[in-house]
C-alpha cells in the first residue's frame, strides 16, 4: 500500500464531500463551520476583553481608559475585510445551528424512518424528507444571514 500522509487523507475526506450525496455536504459544512466558529469565538473573547481595557487587565480600570481602548478597538475592527469575514461567519453560524438541530434530533432517533425489508430500488430510511427539508432550510437561513449582515456592513441592498 502506498503510504499516504494521514493529514492529507483527513483533509481530503473532510473537505471534499463529492459523490456521496447531500448528507456528505452537510457533514463537511458542519465540520468546517464548527472549527471556524470556535476560532472566531476565541478571537471574539480576546477582542471583547478590550471593553475593560484588554485581556491583561485584572482589576477595575478607570472608566475613561476602558472607554478609550474600546473606541480604538471598534475603529480598528471597522474595515471591510473584518466585515466580510463576519458576514461569512454569519452564514456558518446559522448553518451550523440549524443543521445542528437536525443532527440533535436524528442522534436521538427522531426524524428517522423505520427499519424495513429492503426492496429494490433502495431508499435509505435514515434519510427522510423532513431531514432534507431541514438541511435546505439551514442553507436558506445561512444565505439570509449572509445577505442581512452584508447589508448591515456594506449597505448594499437597502440604504
Amino acid at each position: 500500500m502506498s503510504v499516504r500522509n494521514p493529514v492529507v487523507t483527513a483533509l481530503k475526506t473532510w473537505l471534499i464531500p463529492r459523490r456521496y450525496g447531500v448528507m456528505r455536504w452537510s457533514y463537511s459544512l458542519q465540520r468546517i463551520s464548527g472549527v471556524a466558529i470556535t476560532l472566531y469565538f476565541v478571537l471574539h473573547i480576546g477582542e471583547t476583553a478590550n471593553v475593560i481595557g484588554g485581556s491583561q487587565v485584572w482589576s477595575i480600570p478607570s472608566y475613561e481608559y476602558a472607554r478609550q481602548v474600546w473606541t480604538e478597538t471598534v475603529e480598528f475592527l471597522s474595515n471591510p475585510f473584518f466585515d466580510a469575514g463576519l458576514a461569512v461567519l454569519a452564514f456558518l453560524i446559522f448553518f451550523h445551528t440549524s443543521n445542528g438541530v437536525r443532527l440533535f434530533l436524528t442522534h436521538f432517533g427522531i426524524l428517522l424512518g423505520k427499519p424495513h425489508r429492503p426492496e429494490y430500488p433502495y431508499h435509505p430510511a435514515s434519510m427522510t424528507k423532513a431531514q432534507l427539508t431541514i438541511f435546505w432550510v439551514s442553507i436558506l437561513l445561512a444565505v439570509a444571514a449572509l445577505l442581512y449582515s452584508l447589508n448591515i456592513f456594506f449597505k448594499v441592498i437597502l440604504p
Binding site: 494521514p6 465540520r31 464548527g34 472549527v35 480576546g46 477595575i60 472607554r67
Partner: protein
C-alpha cells in the same frame, strides 16, 4: 452511561443553551438597536457597557461563554481524536483542549465581571 456518552450529552445540552443565549446575544446587537449604536461604549440604551450592567443580559452572556467554550472545544477534541489515535496523542489533545477552554472562559468571565462593575 459511559464517560464519552456523558460528554456527548453535555454537547447536546450546550448546543441548546447556545441557541437560546446566542439568540439573545444577536438580538441585543442587531435587532433592538442599530448595529453601530450597540457597538458604542456608552450613551445609547443598548451600548456595550449598558448590556454588561444589565445583570440578566450579563448572565446570559456568561451562559453563552460557558456553553460555546464546551461545545466548541469538545468539537475540536473529537476532530483531533479522529485525526490520529494513540495514548500520548489522546492525552495531549485532552489536556490542550481543556486548558484552552478554561483560559478562554477565565478571560471572558473576567471581562463580564469587571465590565458590569465599571
Amino acid at each position: 452511561m459511559s464517560r464519552e456518552a456523558r460528554i456527548m450529552m453535555l454537547h447536546y445540552i450546550t448546543g441548546l443553551v447556545i441557541i437560546v443565549a446566542g439568540a439573545i446575544h444577536l438580538a441585543t446587537v442587531f435587532l433592538v438597536s442599530p448595529y453601530e449604536e450597540s457597538l458604542r461604549f456608552d450613551n445609547t440604551p443598548w451600548s456595550v457597557i449598558n448590556v454588561y450592567r444589565n445583570s440578566l443580559l450579563a448572565g446570559s452572556l456568561e451562559a453563552l461563554l460557558l456553553a460555546v467554550a464546551f461545545h466548541g472545544f469538545n468539537g475540536l477534541r473529537v476532530i483531533l481524536l479522529e485525526l490520529h489515535q494513540g495514548r500520548t496523542w489522546t492525552r495531549a489533545v485532552n489536556v490542550a483542549v481543556t486548558v484552552a477552554a478554561i483560559a478562554v472562559v477565565i478571560n471572558g468571565t473576567k471581562t463580564i465581571f469587571i465590565a458590569s462593575m465599571l
